[in-house]
């Protein structure tokens, strides 16, 4: 998203067309370029006591992750937002896992 400067001076961003001028920062997606984003999601787990030892166990070993790319034209979810892309991804940690 372009961050226009307020009246084109200093470090403050302007919002309205009467004050926006220039570009303080550009976080838009550039044409002909690939932009990567990575998200980390912690599986739900709990630490259980057994025989005087602590054992970490997964509560869920499968997750369904919904990925939505939103275009939020006015900077907030005000009813004008548009979902550009949405998909679901199933991931899992199905394995014998004991916290060591």
């Amino acid at each position: 998203m372009p961050f226009p400067g307020r009246l084109g001076r200093g470090k403050e961003m302007g919002r309205g067309p009467y004050e926006k001028s220039g570009l303080l920062r550009e976080t838009s997606l550039a044409p002909g370029k690939t932009t990567h984003e990575t998200f980390e999601i912690t599986y739900p787990f709990e630490d259980k006591e057994k025989d005087g030892k602590t054992r970490r166990e997964l509560i869920e070993d499968e997750l369904t992750v919904t990925v939505t790319l939103w275009y939020v034209p006015f900077g907030e979810f005000d009813g004008n937002e548009v979902a550009f892309f949405e998909t679901e991804k199933d991931i899992n940690l199905k394995t014998e896992w004991v916290w060591r």
């Binding site: 998203m1 372009p2 226009p4 084109g8 309205g16 067309p17 009467y18 004050e19 926006k20 001028s21 220039g22 570009l23 550009e26 838009s28 997606l29 550039a30 044409p31 002909g32 370029k33 690939t34 932009t35 990567h36 984003e37 990575t38 998200f39 980390e40 999601i41 912690t42 599986y43 787990f45 970490r56 997964l58 997750l63 992750v65 990925v67 790319l69 275009y71 034209p73 006015f74 004008n80 548009v82 550009f84 892309f85 998909t87 991804k89 199933d90 991931i91 899992n92 940690l93 896992w97 916290w99 060591r100």
Partner: protein
Amino acid sequence: MKRAFIAGIAAFAGAALMAFNAYSEGGPKPEPLPKAKTIAELAERYDSERCAECHEDIYDEWQYSLHSHSILGSPRTAPTIITAIENGIKLFPYSGVKNDEDLTVEHLMICAKCHLPQLDEATDDVAREIVATIKGWQQAYRDGDTDKAEKLEETIASLNIGCTVCHQKVAIIHKWADGYPQYDTVYGSSEGDHEDEELVKMAEAPAIGESIFCGQCHGLGPNFELDHPSQCATLYGSYLFAYVAHGGSETCQECHMEKSGLGHDMQSYKDEAMIDMALDVKVEGRSIFWRKNKAEGVVPIGIIDVSMYNKAGHVIPDG
């Protein structure tokens, strides 16, 4: 020898003139039309319904585009014009505006340069009428007076980027080279007679199929020609310097009108076809046990990698 040289110069001059005149039938700068004194007068001057009789399909397409309600907007534009007046123009010490009565066409042109370029053919009373109409429309909504709100909304929407804005008023960009648009001519891709009482001729607009044509409004950044530059759109800037500069060669019209199949229903982020044409998104997922640190130990995490390839001819988002 001298005669041959003169003949040569004459032939060259003739060829040079033909080179320009072959592309358009612009002409001398015409006398300005009488100023429109009301919204209704201005709307009638640029009413696209007159074109619908023969160009029904194009008119229908256009009606869905934001061009058909360029002052009303999504409808965020009209309220933003009021914000610009209340939070900007009225507060600037040298704008000369303290109250709505002080507003002139010049003040509104920071928005109207693109949202209603024909406002320069109207009196200052029209500028004030536009502001009063938008404020009345907002108040009617606050009062729950739907009938009044709808009526005023219709009035606001009557001011728009209609057929003759692009195909007449701003049809010729380089007026010294190609001439000024003539009041009796509609500009597009054809030449000849045109069945209309006022627009009786058709002529080619030299750049109507080029990106620069759209760049007149979807621009480069601050409009420095204004006493108080405004900046809504920077799209033509990103097209030139982030797309063409890196090998891109398609025009705005090729993507937004032809490949999209939308024609004069020019759309952007709210349209499925344009969204499909804008980005390729890939999502990969995997899971690992992350030995994070001593305090938190091993943490089971899923990792979602998202890659977004922008295949448009400009940054996303932009306008």
